[in-house]
């Protein structure tokens, strides 16, 4: 699927920093990736790893007065340079070419306007449709996201809808201008699992229908396995591994990816009394990043020397996919002695 098309979004050396009282803090550090049309890219990581900041950088939704992008940072939508664009130009892109679904369907909709009004708002700005056509389009969109009785629903307010329905409305708003790229930031995290299944099903159907590229940000590896084509794993602001979803799950190269996959309980494979493999410790604070590998303190494979002092580059690993590790799993290189994946914690 990836070979067929040109990348529709290219993110090059993205570094996003914030000015704070304690100085500049870099939340996203030298992140590069591409998204093709019709493809779903999963961005995975734990809280604070920079996945949301990456997506908001693409949308330029971060507060401009405290946000600094790196000198070499570039985000290209087709040929349009997002980081160099003015606010007016960005307005034409947001919602029309690139749209976003947020995590919290309870708060992302405006409580004082009707559903219909909120879909209409995007259409009014980005299309030349007249009032009647816009209303018809809103109804059509709600029908597309399988909201029953859409003619009635467009007159209702967000509080009258359930969580799953609100997330559908969000998707309807995001897709009403048929964007090329849909950024979904934890779209199902706040939802129950049966509703999650509905929303994932819906997003997949829409991707096929409109050939939309989807950037799916999530911490749920089950969701990734179910819908993504490619995956990028982030840790403390860095991309540590990326590749096709199959390879990431069956042939992880970075110890963090491996540990993350190990630490989720597996459905249908209950072992009585078994402990889960865990990752000891916690994610390092962005204020006190180590000189070496950012995962070093929690890594079961650390050599306690090179790993501590020298941060690995993101380079092709044994599986020929980018990985940021001195001793990627499956490499011929001699591993340090401390080679136990033993259960800790």
């Amino acid at each position: 699927m990836t070979d067929k098309t040109e990348p529709i979004l290219r993110v090059q050396h993205l570094s996003t920093s914030f000015k704070t009282d304690r100085g500049l803090v870099t939340a996203v550090d030298d992140v590069c990736f591409e998204v093709m049309a019709g493809e779903t890219l999963g961005i995975v990581g734990e809280s604070g790893c920079g996945k949301t900041v990456t997506s908001k950088s693409v949308m330029r939704l971060l507060p401009e007065h405290i946000t600094r992008y790196g000198k070499q940072s570039k985000i290209l939508y087709k040929d349009f340079d997002i980081l160099a664009a003015g606010e007016g130009e960005m307005r034409n892109v947001r919602g029309d070419k690139i749209a976003m679904i947020f995590q919290e369907p309870m708060t992302a909709l405006n409580p004082v306007f009707t559903i219909g009004w909120q879909i209409n708002e995007a259409l009014k700005y980005h299309t030349k449709l007249n009032k009647r056509e816009r209303r018809d389009r809103a109804v059509e969109m709600l029908r597309l996201v399988e909201i029953p009785n859409p003619e009635q629903r467009i007159k209702e307010y967000p509080h009258q809808l359930s969580g799953g329905m609100r997330q559908r409305v969000m998707i309807a708003i995001a897709l009403c201008c048929e964007p090329d790229i849909l950024i979904a930031d934890e779209p199902t995290t706040a939802l129950d699992v049966t509703i999650q299944a509905q929303i994932l099903d819906l997003m997949n159907g829409l991707k096929e229908k409109f050939n939309t590229a989807i950037m799916l940000i999530t911490h749920d590896l089950g969701v990734v396995a179910t819908v993504c084509d490619r995956v990028m794993v982030m840790y403390a602001g860095r991309v540590i591994e990326s590749g096709p979803v199959h390879d990431i799950f069956h042939n992880p190269q970075h110890p963090y990816t491996q540990a993350l996959l190990g630490s989720i309980p597996k459905r249908g494979r209950k072992v009585q009394g078994a402990m889960l493999p865990t990752i000891p410790g916690i994610v390092p604070s962005l204020w006190e990043l180590p000189d070496g590998c950012r995962f070093e303190a929690r890594c079961p494979y650390t050599d306690a020397q090179r790993c501590v002092h020298e941060e690995p580059e993101l380079a092709p690993g044994p599986d020929n996919r980018p990985v940021r590790c001195h001793y990627p799993i499956g490499s011929e290189k001699e591993r340090p002695a401390k080679l136990t994946t033993g259960v800790t914690g």
Partner: protein
Amino acid sequence: MSLIEVRNLVKKFPIRGGVLNRVVNNVHAVRGVTFDIASGETVGVVGESGCGKSTLGKCLIRLIEPTEGLVAYEGEEITGLSHSELMPYRRKMQIVFQDPYSSLNPRLTVQATLAEAIKLHGVVKQSGSAMDDYIDELMRQVGLRPDDKVKFPHEFSGGQRQRIGIARALSVRPDFIVADEPVSALDVSIQAQVLNLMKKLREELGLTMMFISHDLKVVEHFCDRVLVMYLGYVVEEVRTDDLDNTAQHPYTRALLGANPIDDPDDRRPLVILQGDVPSPINPPPGCPFAGRCPLVMDRCREKMPPLEVKNGAPVACWAVEDGKAPEPLTRAGSRSPASA
């Protein structure tokens, strides 16, 4: 012997309104629930938001007063006991809350938080070195540094805070713990740490637990048995050893089928249930799952099926027939979310 017995437990929350502030309606949170928890057992409660699982957990230890029904601890009825009569039971029954951010008092140090319950229940009679030692030991038990006891909750990470919550529950040496979504707010890697800790403590201290969660993966891993709730009813009780083959209720099976599989090569379509959970205010008559159920019959809309043993396990469904073992779970017949 059963440590906890629950009989026909009902909880309605009144909705008041109008000029006279009269009860105009009720939220039917728990609607006649009956079950036992054996000593040393861990029972999971799963269900979607609003199904009454947290209310049930809190009714059990009387943090919420049940409207009707009976809860017994070691054969002694505790519903109906006065505040002072209840005190010894409060020590034996503790709770770990979901949100490690809001369940700790931000103005108390960890030490002060822990000491409060310890003193109240007279586990350690006096402050001083005995109390310090006890708290140090408690901190070590949950994997925290004893020196950190002088810190405030905001100085800890989410996982550490949940460890404090666990330490607080354990501080009075309870026999029974209700864990209300203890790992839902945590990151995956931290979730595994906390689950392992709880498992270790459960074995060391011989705790009996009720583990409330919306995540079937976690419940399957952590619990011996699971109660599946839907809109206030327990619709099925099933052992977690072989869920895929023993789950009988169509809702349990839908939950299992809707859980994404952690394997990109296994893209069986997810089971898609249409529609939402009905409102617990004026719930529909009959089985509350009827509106979304693939096996719905006319009878389902008229009368709620009782929870009765079929094929060796309690299930509340008209469509499940005794003597006809459930088919192994497949995902056929649903629409494909991923045709990659």
